[in-house]
């Protein structure tokens, strides 16, 4: 009898296989089975015929993404925003994590951390209201301050160019506390002896951060970046929708795939077109994550995801 092969493996580690079974089952049912629905992207969906019975219609469903040349613009915007947000929010999170872990007073430390964490719990709907009340031309906080100091009021809603930065600031403000938790955990797990040794050698705070903390949390940073890159084609729909809403003046600079699809398809019941948009995003995401992972693997094999 052969002592290798799947059956033998199964027999040898049956307890392990049994333990992993629920997880495999769950992933299969929740993630693999629904994938068959992807064929919807290539179908002319009819309610009475169902997903599998509806007639095929080739690439027709994808056409609306690229009609009038919007497809490229929204893809570019989506990638640009995600890169910007990725870099700024992760950079700020590392910065905040190091600051907090260097703080001395225990109460002060905890209070600061909580205050920074708080925006995470504020929904985008409320943030959208904040934004409108700050930038409103007639009654907004910004223009009231400008007028108080004798300046000319500015109409921020007619300047699409500044919106990437506004969105970036609010995104960082909301996520920095949440993201920093992971880095704080990574910093806490660094061996205290390293710092003691550095103290004895006469290293100052900045040297300790640069030569001990940063190298120690580098794997965490890379993993976090890789995980975020996988979502790069998915705009944070709620954020864009609540901050920019239906203000067409800003679309050139703020429209991402998700908001475009939402607006285009809100008024028809074509599931095929929605599926096509999501298919397009998924395929691009897949390509990007494979490429980025390959690059990481080439540079530093240990840090790659797979």
């Amino acid at each position: 009898m052969k002592k290798t092969g799947f059956l033998h493996e199964l027999k040898k580690n049956k307890a392990l296989f049994l333990m992993v079974a629920p997880a495999v089952l769950l992933v299969f049912v929740m993630s693999y089975l629904p994938m068959s629905g992807l064929i919807l992207a290539f179908k002319d969906y009819k309610f009475n015929l169902g997903v599998f019975g509806s007639p095929w219609n080739g690439l027709e469903n994808f056409r609306f993404l690229f009609q009038s040349g919007k497809g490229w613009l929204i893809t570019r915007n989506t990638i640009f925003y995600n890169l910007l947000n990725l870099v700024t929010s992760q950079f700020l999170a590392v910065f905040v994590a190091i600051l907090i872990s260097e703080m001395a007073g225990k109460v002060y430390k905890k209070v600061t951390q909580s205050v920074i964490f708080l925006p995470y719990f504020i929904s985008w709907v409320i943030v959208g209201t904040f934004v409108f009340n700050i930038f409103n031309f007639e009654t907004g906080v910004l223009n009231n301050v400008v007028k108080f100091f004798g300046g000319e009021p500015v109409n921020v809603y007619s300047m699409p160019g500044v919106w990437p930065w506004i969105i970036c600031i609010f995104n960082s403000w909301k996520w920095v506390g949440y993201n920093s938790i992971i880095y704080i955990a990574a910093i806490t797990s660094i061996d205290a002896e390293c710092y003691e040794a550095a103290d004895i050698d006469g290293a100052n705070v900045f040297q300790k951060i640069w030569y001990i903390t940063m190298p120690s949390i580098k794997p965490t940073i890379i993993t976090m970046l890789l995980l975020q890159v996988g979502r790069i084609l998915r705009g944070d729909f709620e954020m864009f929708y609540q901050i920019v809403g239906n203000n067409g003046q800003l679309f050139d600079r703020t429209d991402v795939i998700d908001t475009y699809v939402f607006r285009s398809l809100l008024q028809n019941s074509n599931f095929g077109m929605t599926a096509a948009a999501s298919f397009y995003q998924s395929v691009l995401c897949f390509v990007i994550i494979i490429v980025v992972n390959a690059i990481v693997k080439k540079v530093e094999e240990d840090y790659a995801l797979f």
Binding site: V29, N48, Q67, L266, N268, S269
Partner: protein, 526 residues
């Protein structure tokens, strides 16, 4: 050896569990929706609509009790259970039927409503409307066709439908919905408060756009903290209204965000997109002037507050007479007035409010019979639509009132209203009833001329969905800021035009023209 068999058995068991999971998807929904209707439908397990032939003409077998399931879109009132219990007593007695009404809340209807039809859930009736994408859903096969069922099981309702209503309910040659019997009017005009201008020398005239501008000027002076016009993120949207008053382009085709119009006085009208019509310049000059005068906020397109008139932050909104009725009842102290600038009023499509039978319906016959009863018998109607007398409604001098709106509400199946059962609300200004009577007369006099001739024209958009999606985007991105005067008139208009062309407006116009020409063939001018 024995051990590996056990393992194989285990794996097979796993597969079976998996199979059960996979099958759950369609089983679950059917078992929840059909409780109570099991007994009734022997032998009709297919839902392809072919069961219409099985029962013999006209007589409905009501020997077994049936539960009809209906979906409506609105928030469920707190004490709806009491109303349901009361109406089911009457339904049971008259038709041996009970009705279960499921409510889809305002917060979730955009997602949940189309999913009703794609999930395969079994239910009988649903409210539908033009704004719920009735024709798009019908084209995609979501509803049961009613050509035979409706006249057979809801004959009283069917007989009362107008020719125009029947044509509006027809998609690809088949009837798919039961339109409302209650007409609504194509009126649109300013609903403006007059209390803030008391004590000024404003002459109170409101007959055209110039008067509206004068009114807004006065509001600017008398109540500077208020915005004269209620404009928010959905834009201004006056153009169709402007055309109705200042041109013969009184009929719009295309629906929301696809602004195409044609001249109703012509025998064979040509469909034009908004910028091809001469009125575009005077209109945009007017709105640009209004923007400079500050009739709306420079940030209006990011303002999501649509209730500024109710909240006292705006003085005037442009809407229909039913909205006016509501404002006048809710805020008598603000002395709201309504003016309709246009002379040529017609009925809105009756599919504005309508009822559909789901493609998955188990008891379409009984459901239609029930609906026939509701729309023809006053006791049944009151119990269904208004609830319990003295508790959820009171009738005072032919006007109706809900004494406890926190707990009770009228039905959200607005399609069930009929001209004789639908009563005005208590406190409704006399002018509302007068205007409606005047319009009814006018429409009768017109006798199908002008805009009325095209009332039953329904556009089939199924072959231009891609262009539609692109055009709606252009409309939002380029037209709304242009219309509000936020971008330069000349360059903005040129830009808008170029983007519309890129989005495929030519193809859409050609298709509309084709369908309209075919319509004109079959509906010649009187």
């Amino acid at each position: 050896m024995k051990k590996s068999f056990r393992l194989v058995a285990l794996l097979m068991a796993l597969c079976m569990i998996l199979g059960v999971f996979a099958a759950c998807g369609d089983k679950n929904s059917s078992s929840t929706a059909s409780t109570g209707s099991k007994a009734s439908t022997e032998g009709s397990k297919t839902d392809d609509g072919s069961k219409a032939e099985t029962p013999e003409a006209g007589d409905l077998d009501t020997s077994n009790e049936v539960e009809v399931v209906m979906y409506v879109v609105s928030d469920r009132p707190a004490k709806q259970d009491e109303i349901d219990e009361n109406m089911n007593k009457i339904f049971k007695e008259k038709l041996n039927t009970t009705l279960k009404v499921n409510w889809i809340g305002w917060a979730e209807y955009t997602n949940k409503y189309p999913l009703l039809f794609s999930s395969g859930e079994e239910f009988d009736l649903s409210y539908t409307a033009t704004w719920l994408n009735f024709s798009s859903l019908a084209q995609r096969g979501a509803f049961m066709e009613l050509d035979e069922l409706w006249p057979k099981y809801a004959p009283k309702n069917y007989e009362r439908q107008s020719q125009a209503a029947l044509e509006q309910a027809t998609v690809n040659g088949k009837l798919y919905c039961i339109p409302t019997l209650l007409p609504t009017y194509s009126s649109q005009g300013p609903i403006y408060r007059t209390d803030i201008l008391e004590g000024t020398d404003w002459d109170g005239k409101m007959e055209n756009f110039d008067d509206l501008e004068v009114y807004c000027d006065y509001v600017k002076q008398a109540a500077p903290e208020m915005e004269p016009l209620n404009v928010y993120s959905s834009g201004l949207g006056f153009y169709a209204w402007y055309l109705c008053i200042n041109s013969n382009y009184k009929a719009s085709v295309g629906g929301n965000g696809v602004p195409c119009y044609f001249d109703v006085t012509e025998d064979k009208p040509t469909v034009k997109v908004d910028y091809q019509i001469d009125q575009i310049r005077p209109y945009l000059e007017m709105t640009h002037r209004w923007n400079e005068k500050g009739f709306w906020s420079k940030s209006a397109l990011s303002d999501t507050d649509s209730q500024k008139v109710q909240g006292g932050k705006a003085a005037c909104t442009i809407h229909n007479i039913d909205t006016y009725e509501g404002r006048a009842i809710d805020y008598p102290e603000r002395n709201f007035k309504y003016a309709d600038f246009r002379k040529d009023v017609s009925y809105l499509p009756f599919t504005q409010d309508a009822l559909v039978v789901s493609g998955t319906a188990k008891n379409p016959e009984r459901a239609l019979a029930l609906y026939d009863l509701i729309t023809s018998d006053e006791e049944t109607y009151r119990a269904f639509y208004n609830g319990i007398e003295g508790v959820s409604y009171e009738i005072i001098d032919g006007q109706i009132k809900n004494p406890d709106p926190d707990n009770y509400g009228f039905s959200a199946c607005w399609a069930a209203r009929t001209p004789e059962f639908n009563l005005p609300s208590v406190g409704s200004p006399q002018v509302v009833a007068d205007l409606k009577a005047e319009w009814d007369n006018y429409i009768k006099e017109q006798d199908g001329k002008g805009a009325a001739r095209f009332a039953s024209f329904v556009l089939d958009t199924s072959m231009m969905e891609t262009e539609y999606a692109a055009i709606r985007n252009v409309n939002q991105e380029y037209w709304l800021p242009l219309e509000l005067g936020f971008v330069d008139l000349e360059s903005g208009l040129a830009d808008y035009q170029a983007k519309m062309e890129a989005a495929g407006i030519e193809k859409v116009l050609a298709e509309m023209q084709k369908q309209l020409d075919a319509f004109c063939e079959s509906h010649p001018a009187k």
